[in-house]
C-alpha cells in the first residue's frame, strides 16, 4: 500500500472523527445572482438594538452594503419605495421541525425522533428533512429566512441539528446554511423519562436522565483520548518516516474504529458543535449548566424554558440563550409555571439572550406577533422594551445562539442580505411581510405570489391555486 495515500486517507478519517473538517454532506446552496437593491425611506430596525427612521438599506452582491439615510444606489439598482413600511433582518427560528415532521402529518413523514435509544447522538436531523414540506413556503411568507431544524425530544441526546436557509430546493444540501456550525439536541425532563420509562428501561426518572447524559459524555471523553493517543502515535510515525529514522518493522498506528455517536459528542466537547437543550424547569436547567461545567462544554441555548424567568440572571451570567414561547403553558406539569412575561424577564439582565422560537409550523409564520405579545407583556410589567430591542429576540439573538452572529441576524455592512420589508410596524397582528430577501435575492413578494406552489407535493393539488 502506498504509504502516502494511506496517510492521506487516514488523516481524513482522523479529521472527521475528532474535528469536523470537511462535511460529508456538504452544502450546495448558492445565493443566486441578484440586482443591487436599495430599500428607501423605511423605518429600519437593525437587529442591533437601533431604530433608524427614514433610512435606506442597500443590498449589493447578496450582502448588506450600507444602512442609513440618503444612500445612493448604483445605476442598475432596483429601488423600492418603503415609505411607511418597516425593514428588519430576516427572521430566524431557532427551533423548527420542518421537513422532519412535515405536513401532511402522515406516519410516513414522521421522521422526528429516533426513539429507539435514549442517546442517539449518531443521527443527523438533515437526513430526515423532506425539502418538499409545504411549511417552508408559508414560513417564508412570514419573513423567516433561516431555520434550525432539530430532532425531537424523545431522547436524552436526540442527534445533530442543522441550520438551513429557507429557500425552495430539491435537496436539503441545497438549503444548508454554508459553514453554519452543527448543533446537538438534548432534552430534559418528562419526555425522555416517559418514552423509556414506559418501556421499563432507563431513563424512567429525572435522576436517570442525568445519569444518561453523564455516561454519554464519559464515553465521549474516553473516545476522545483514544483518538488523541492515535494522533500522537501517527505524528510520531510520520515524523520518523520523514526523518527516515523508523525501524524496518515499524508499522503505522491503527486508527480507532469510528463511532458516529461519540464523534458528535466529541465535537461538543471540542466546542465545535453547539448544544441546544429542550428544558422547561428552572431547577433542571441549573442541573444542565452544572453538567456542562462537569464536562467542559458550553450550552448555547435552552429551548422551551417556560421557567427561564426564575433563573434569568444565571442564564445571562453564563451567556446562555433561552428560546421561549410568548404564552404556551400548562400542557404538562413541567410547563405549568409558564407566564406571559417570561421573555421580557429573561431579556432584563445585562448580556441576556432571549429569543422567541416556534416549535410549530403554524407559529413560525407569525414570530413577529409572538415577539409583539412578549414585548407588550414586558412593557405592561414596567420594563422598557422598545421595538428595536424586541426585534433582537427573533433576529440577532437567535443568530448568536447558532454561532452565526458575524453572518446574519442584523442589518450591518457585510452581513448576509437577509431582509424583510413589512407592510407596517411588524409588532402588529395586521403586519404582513411584503418582501423577503435571502442573500440579497428576492424570495417572496406578496404583490406577485408565485403562479405555482413551491412544494412539488402541493403542485396539482386541488386548492393549491384554485380560485374560489
Amino acid at each position: 500500500m502506498c504509504i502516502r495515500k494511506w496517510l492521506l486517507s487516514s488523516a481524513c478519517c482522523a479529521a472527521t472523527a475528532t474535528a469536523l473538517g470537511a462535511d460529508p454532506y456538504p452544502s450546495t446552496y448558492h445565493a443566486p445572482a441578484s440586482r443591487p437593491t436599495l430599500i428607501r425611506n423605511a423605518t429600519v430596525l437593525t437587529g442591533t438594538g437601533t431604530r433608524l427612521d427614514h433610512a435606506d438599506v442597500l443590498l449589493v452582491d447578496g450582502l448588506v452594503k450600507a444602512v442609513g439615510p440618503g444612500l445612493s444606489a448604483p445605476g442598475n439598482a432596483w429601488i423600492i419605495d418603503a415609505a411607511g413600511r418597516w425593514v428588519t433582518p430576516g427572521i430566524i427560528d431557532v427551533h423548527s421541525h420542518m421537513g422532519v415532521a412535515a405536513a401532511p402529518n402522515t406516519s410516513s413523514l414522521d421522521d422526528l425522533n429516533e426513539a429507539t435509544d435514549p442517546v442517539s447522538a449518531q443521527v443527523w436531523a438533515e437526513h430526515s428533512i423532506w425539502p418538499q414540506d409545504p411549511a417552508f413556503a408559508t414560513a417564508l411568507a412570514g419573513g423567516v429566512t433561516t431555520l434550525q431544524i432539530l430532532p425531537g425530544s424523545a431522547n436524552l441526546i436526540g442527534g445533530r441539528s442543522v441550520v438551513v436557509k429557507n429557500v425552495p430546493a430539491v435537496t436539503y444540501q441545497a438549503m444548508k446554511f454554508p459553514g453554519a456550525p452543527y448543533g446537538l439536541k438534548m432534552a430534559c425532563g418528562e419526555n425522555p423519562k416517559r418514552v423509556y420509562g414506559e418501556r421499563h428501561q432507563s431513563p424512567s426518572t429525572r435522576m436517570g436522565n442525568v445519569a444518561g447524559y453523564r455516561q454519554a459524555f464519559i464515553d465521549a471523553q474516553a473516545y476522545q483520548l483514544e483518538w488523541d493517543k492515535y494522533q500522537r502515535e501517527l505524528a510520531s510515525y510520520v515524523a520518523m518516516s520523514a526523518a527516515r529514522t523508523k525501524g524496518k518493522d515499524a508499522q503505522p498506528p491503527t486508527p480507532p474504529h469510528r463511532n458516529l455517536k461519540l464523534e458528535t459528542l466529541v465535537g461538543v466537547l471540542k466546542g465545535e458543535i453547539l448544544v441546544h437543550v429542550h428544558c422547561y424547569r428552572a431547577d433542571e436547567m441549573a442541573t444542565m449548566l452544572d453538567l456542562a461545567d462537569e464536562f467542559g462544554f458550553k450550552i448555547a441555548a435552552f429551548h422551551h424554558g417556560v421557567e427561564a424567568y426564575k433563573i434569568a440572571d444565571a442564564l445571562a451570567d453564563k451567556g446562555v440563550c433561552a428560546a421561549l414561547w410568548a404564552d404556551w403553558w400548562g400542557f404538562k406539569l413541567e410547563a405549568y409555571d409558564g407566564i406571559q412575561e417570561n421573555v421580557a424577564l429573561v431579556d432584563r439582565p445585562a448580556n441576556s439572550c432571549a429569543m422567541l422560537h416556534s416549535d410549530s409550523a403554524d407559529t413560525v409564520q407569525r414570530l413577529n406577533q409572538e415577539a409583539a405579545k412578549a414585548m407588550a407583556r414586558g412593557v405592561r410589567a414596567g420594563l422598557d422594551i422598545p421595538p428595536e430591542r424586541a426585534i433582537r429576540w427573533i433576529t440577532s439573538n437567535p443568530a448568536r445562539s447558532l454561532g452565526l452572529s458575524s453572518r446574519t441576524g442584523s442589518l450591518e455592512p457585510g452581513k448576509m442580505g437577509d431582509v424583510v420589508v413589512w407592510s407596517r410596524m411588524p409588532f402588529s397582528v395586521y403586519a404582513l411581510a411584503d418582501l423577503v430577501f435571502i442573500d440579497g435575492a428576492l424570495r417572496f413578494d406578496r404583490e406577485h405570489p408565485p403562479a405555482e406552489p413551491a412544494s412539488d407535493f402541493m403542485l396539482g393539488q386541488p386548492g393549491a391555486t384554485e380560485q374560489p
Binding site: A312, P349, K373, V429, F457, P462
Partner: protein, 410 residues
C-alpha cells in the same frame, strides 16, 4: 370619587365570583363595540345593574352607580374562548386530571355510543386556567367532549368563566360528533362507515324496537339522541370539502340542526353551506395541508366564507388567545367588525345564547371588557373585565408568579 370604591372592590378577593352585590356600575366614556351598530359608539356610557346591561347611551345618569372613567378606550362584550376543554383538563397526560374525553375501551366492532355522556358535569370552575383565561377578557366558552371509542363525543355546553359552580349557560347544550378520515378507526375503517353508524343510531333512537343484540345505544342514550334529532344542535368536526357536502345532505335528510367545526376546506363549498344555513366554527390560522382532509387549507378561509354569506365563529389554540386568530383573519381579508363578531355575537347565536350574550345592548349579560387598544391587536391587553356585572379581580396564578419573580431578581 366613586372610582375609589371600584378600586377597593377590585382589591378584595371576595369581589369576583360572589353574586350578592346589587350595586350598579357605570362605565363612562368608552368606545362601545355593540356588535350591532355599523360603527362603534364613541364617548358612550354603559350602565350595569345586577347581572345585566340596563342602559347604553351618552351622558347616562351616574346616580347610585360606581363610575369607571373609560377614557374612550374600547369596550367590547366578553369574548368567547372557542370550543374548549378549559376546566376539564388540568394536565393532558395525567389521567386523573383529564375529563374531556370518554372511553370504555370498547372494541371497534362492538361500539358503545353514549350521547347521554355530559362533559359539563366534569367542569371545575376552580381550575387555575379559569382566572388565567378570564383576565384576558374571555368570559365564556363552549366545553367540547370527545370519545376514544366512537365518533360520538357526547354532550357539551357553554359555560361562564365567572368561577361560579353553576356555570352552564342554559339553552346552549349541544351534541358533538366527528366525521372524516381522522375517525376512520372508529367508523369501520372508512369515513363512509360514519354515516352507516349514524343511520343505525338514528334508527335505534327513533324506533327502539329495531335495536338488535349489537345496539349502539343504551336506553338513556336513545332518549338523549332523540332530543338532539328533534330540535337539538349537533356539532360535526369535519374538514374535507366532500365530507362537508355529505354532512349537508345527511343533515337535510334527517332534519337536524348541524354546525360545522374545523372546516379547513369549507371555502370550497361555501355556497352550499350558505344555502343550507349551516354555520362554520373554524381556526383562521389553519393554512397548512396538515392532513389529507385539509389539503385545500388557506388563510382566507374565513374571509371567503363570510363573502359567500356563511355564518362563522372562531376557535383554536388557547381560549385566552382567541383574539390573535381573529386579528389574523382581518389581515387575511375579513372585515374587522365581522372578526370581532366571530368571537362574540356569532358564537352566542350559534349556541342559542344570542338574546342574552355576545352584544352590548339592554338586557344582555353584563360580560364586558375594557381594552387598552384595538381588541384584536396582539399588543393590546384587557384592563378591566366584568362577568355578569361583577368586576373580575385581575389576578391569576400566573400574575402571582410574575409578581414574585419581577421583584425577586435585580
Amino acid at each position: 370619587m366613586r372610582a375609589a370604591g371600584l378600586i377597593a372592590c377590585l382589591a378584595a378577593a371576595s369581589c369576583a365570583g360572589a353574586s350578592t352585590r346589587a350595586a350598579d356600575f357605570l362605565i363612562r366614556n368608552a368606545t362601545v363595540h355593540t356588535i350591532t351598530s355599523a360603527a362603534p359608539l364613541e364617548h358612550t356610557d354603559v350602565r350595569i345593574h345586577g347581572k345585566v346591561i340596563v342602559a347604553v347611551g351618552k351622558d347616562l345618569a351616574a346616580a347610585g352607580a360606581t363610575v369607571l372613567e373609560a377614557g374612550n378606550r374600547p369596550l367590547t362584550p366578553g369574548l368567547w374562548g372557542g370550543l374548549s376543554t378549559l376546566g376539564l383538563i388540568d394536565l393532558p397526560g395525567e389521567a386523573d386530571t383529564a375529563d374531556a374525553s370518554q372511553g370504555a375501551g370498547a372494541p371497534p366492532w362492538h361500539q358503545q355510543w353514549r350521547p347521554e355522556f355530559d362533559v359539563t358535569l366534569a367542569y371545575n370552575p376552580r381550575a387555575t386556567v379559569v382566572p388565567i383565561t378570564r383576565i384576558e377578557g374571555v368570559t365564556w366558552a363552549v366545553l367540547e367532549p370527545a370519545s376514544d371509542d366512537s365518533i360520538l363525543g357526547g354532550q357539551g355546553a357553554a359555560v361562564t368563566l365567572s368561577g361560579d359552580y353553576d356555570a352552564v349557560l342554559a339553552g346552549s347544550r349541544s351534541l358533538f360528533l366527528q366525521l372524516g378520515g381522522g375517525s376512520n378507526k372508529l367508523s369501520n375503517g372508512s369515513r363512509a362507515g360514519g354515516y352507516m353508524l349514524l343511520d343505525q343510531a338514528v334508527r335505534e333512537a327513533r324506533a327502539p324496537a329495531a335495536a338488535g343484540e349489537m345496539a349502539l345505544l343504551h336506553p338513556a342514550g336513545r332518549e338523549a339522541l332523540l332530543r338532539y334529532l328533534d330540535h337539538g344542535r349537533i356539532v360535526f368536526d369535519v374538514q374535507r370539502a366532500a365530507d362537508i357536502l355529505q354532512l349537508i345532505a345527511f343533515a337535510q335528510r334527517m332534519g337536524i340542526k348541524a354546525v360545522v367545526s374545523g372546516g379547513s376546506e369549507a371555502w370550497v363549498v361555501a355556497k352550499q353551506l350558505s344555502r343550507a344555513n349551516i354555520p362554520v366554527i373554524l381556526d383562521p390560522l389553519q393554512n397548512l395541508p396538515s392532513g389529507f382532509d385539509q389539503l385545500a387549507s388557506r388563510l382566507d378561509n374565513a374571509a371567503l366564507l363570510h363573502r359567500a354569506g356563511v355564518t362563522i365563529a372562531f376557535s383554536g389554540g388557547y381560549a385566552r388567545g382567541i383574539r390573535q386568530p381573529a386579528g389574523n383573519a382581518v389581515a387575511a381579508g375579513l372585515p374587522w367588525e365581522v372578526a370581532l363578531a366571530s368571537i362574540t355575537r356569532t358564537p352566542a347565536e350559534i349556541f342559542g345564547l344570542g338574546s342574552i350574550r355576545g352584544r352590548i345592548a339592554v338586557g344582555q349579560a353584563a360580560d364586558l371588557v375594557l381594552w387598552d387598544g384595538d381588541p384584536l391587536e396582539v399588543t393590546t391587553i384587557a384592563e378591566r373585565v366584568w362577568i355578569a356585572g361583577e368586576p373580575v379581580t385581575m389576578r391569576s396564578r400566573q400574575t402571582l408568579l410574575r409578581d414574585r419573580y419581577l421583584s425577586r431578581s435585580h
